[in-house]
Amino acid sequence: MEIPAIVGAGLAVIGVGIGIGQIGGKAMEAMARQPEMYGKLQTAMLIAAALIEGIGFAALFAV
């Protein structure tokens, strides 16, 4: 139960949250601008979210 490790993991997950939130927001904006590109935008959003989440999990496992 080391406190620095837990704090570090929490900070890493904050970073992941901010990143994925920004991607989601921009994807929503783009989908609202061009509704016919909905499929491609959703695919690209999920890909970017999965990549960022991978880093977040790797940080979680350091705990």
Binding site: L51, A58, F61
Partner: protein, 364 residues
Amino acid sequence: MAKTLIFSFLLLFSMNQVWAEKNHSENDHNHTEEGTDLKSEIKSDITHNLQDSHDFHLFSDKSDLNNIKHYGFPLPVIIWDEGLHFFMSSAFHHGKDIVESNGKYYSLDHGKIHRTDQSGELVESAHPIDFSITKNVFMIFIISLILFVMLFKMNRSYKKGGGLPTGMGRFLEPIILYVRDDIAIPNIGEKHYRKYMGYLLTVFFFVWLVNLFGLTPLGVNITNNIAVTFCLALMTFLITTFTAKKTYWLHLVDPLGNTMPWIAKLPLYVLLVPIELLGTIIKPFSLMIRLYANITAGHIVLMSLIGMMFVFSNWVGSSLSFALAFALGILELLVAALQAYIFTMLSAVYFGSAVVEHSQDEEH
């Protein structure tokens, strides 16, 4: 022919009889000190569920703590330790007995096999290499069998329908076309994508099926094991290395190419070339970590939530944690498919960078 294959395998597996086994001394291992502590029992159950085991433990009947019955079937143990030893894991009796094989004695301790001497003390200097058919290996065989049967039926359905798919072909064709049109061709290019389609399709279906099986209560966690994801990432790495064209290697040691005179490039390359060379190792490494961490974290959270259902023994807490576990389970279905898609797509990106052709540089 597929039907006879399925039937013969079912027959083979039913011959390992499911039996119930009385287990007297389980008491002094787990239950007298921790029997009343629900949280540590849940924790030990979770870690036991996430690990590999040498027998296929379906469920156990703990209605009478003195007399726990385990239902499951044992799997063979194959050890290489100055000679090949082969026996069934039922000889271990769930880790209590010492098995004698060709003059050497082995004991099972938390899933690892150690060599001991006759009385049970560990021999530290011996390192037996464990090749056994454990639960994960067994499930990999079954999943490959399922994949094989599925794709074989699809193959047949094209021949029967005369060019149009029927049955299993109709189910799988959109997925295969999606892998070809949206993953392979945009990343690898029209000229070279045919070579890699076999590997991409295999990895996509395999990782998807394995992740789906991990969500069942059978307790099979294949991608939970970092060795499995290591092998998948290693195959991607080997295929990129061995099918790369000359432009790929040139790009590694000379990323900037023709754009600057070589005097100006040299100080930049001191920093850039090691990063590029490390990048070839780190990219498949990140594939391995991403798949492993996503699936393992999902399983741990899911099982902890279900365990929380037992910690709150009242109506409100248990039903809320059940609802949360249910919602998370549905999210895990999405994560299973998404991780398979990400693995395949990143592999396609790496293959694409290996066979890219520079059309604007005349030197190459």
